[in-house]
Amino acid sequence: MKHRKTIFFSLTALLVIAGGVYGLHEYTRKNADLGHVRADLQISAGDLIRKMETGGQAAERELLAKKDYVIAVTGSIKEISRDEKGYYTIALGNPDGMSSVRCAMDTMHQKGLAGLATGATVTIQGAFTGFNQDPLLGSDVILNRCVISNKKP
């Protein structure tokens, strides 16, 4: 009987500890590093913009409903901007148009971005965040937590 009680309390204690560890892990969990994630879609910047323009809100909602839908986009660097905190946003697309794929670069992957130049072809992967379409500002696909997955001269 005593032996049974010991096993019961040990198992209960183990479950409580496991629950606590899992809870703490979930509570302190950071967003996934997309540098180690396989992309759900590989596409060129121009095709992605056209796909979203054609699909409109329905296409945007379909992708937003998926948790962390990762897209790897290949295109020419149209613009590189760096804010006062040093964080980079890279826009891929046709330099003559207003439309682009705007990639907010992951703060953990800023190294090497200073060496990038407009006109270079890169593949950047990031989490789909939404699609903006405006008669004045053009069409923009927004990706967050982006990382360079491939760089070509």
Partner: protein, 191 residues
């Protein structure tokens, strides 16, 4: 002679119209990387705050009309779980992907867009979040540097106004009152 006077009149009128249209285009400024920060922390033990670096903003310096738009999934939190709850349970980002402000700089006539300096700005308009629209007023600053405007403003909203419910289990951590700050450096819009 009569024809030539008519031609001159047309030319002058045409030039004036063209100048009007050109100066209107020059009066529009935009950014696609406006920054928005909000915090609704209630307990000092846990910060509830997020930043979005991909807001769009258009300002028409002639009319004073201003628009902001932001994608809700673009808000980044320090903790992934908090970000997931924000998107899935509170603002329902897949149903209501963006928030938008459309308004007017009320004291637009006091802002000398052609002269570098810092000008107080009072903005009034409508803010749409979670599918709900409410009137909002904000005091901010328009900074003119090198002929380009930068905007900065802060204001407070109530989550309950936008039908965003806080579950009782976290009501001691999340405040119904949200402080929002917005800033953006604008570039001329060529069209």
């Amino acid at each position: 002679m009569a024809i030539s006077l008519k031609t001159i009149r047309h030319l002058v009128l045409g030039s004036l119209l063209a100048f009007g249209s050109l100066s209107h285009a020059q009066g529009r400024y935009y950014t696609k990387s406006a920054k928005l920060f909000f915090q609704c922390t209630k307990s000092p033990l846990e910060k509830v705050e997020a930043t979005n670096k991909s807001g769009t903003c258009v300002l028409d310096t002639q009319s004073g009309q201003v628009q902001f738009a932001v994608l809700m999934k673009g808000f980044e939190f320090a903790k992934a779980l908090m970000q997931e709850h924000f998107n899935e349970n509170y603002v329902e980002s897949d149903r209501f992907p963006r928030s938008e402000f459309r308004g007017q700089v009320i004291n637009n006539a006091d802002i000398h867009y052609g002269k570098d300096g810092s000008y107080p700005a009072h903005v009034k308009g409508t803010l749409q979040i979670h599918g709900e629209s409410r009137p909002v007023e904000a005091n901010g600053t328009i900074l003119i540097k090198g002929g380009k405007p930068s905007l900065a403003a802060t204001f407070t909203i109530l989550l309950s106004d936008y039908k965003i419910a806080i579950p009782s289990v976290v009501s001691d951590k999340i405040s119904n009152s949200v402080d929002i700050s917005v800033e953006g450096a604008l570039e001329p819009l060529k069209n």
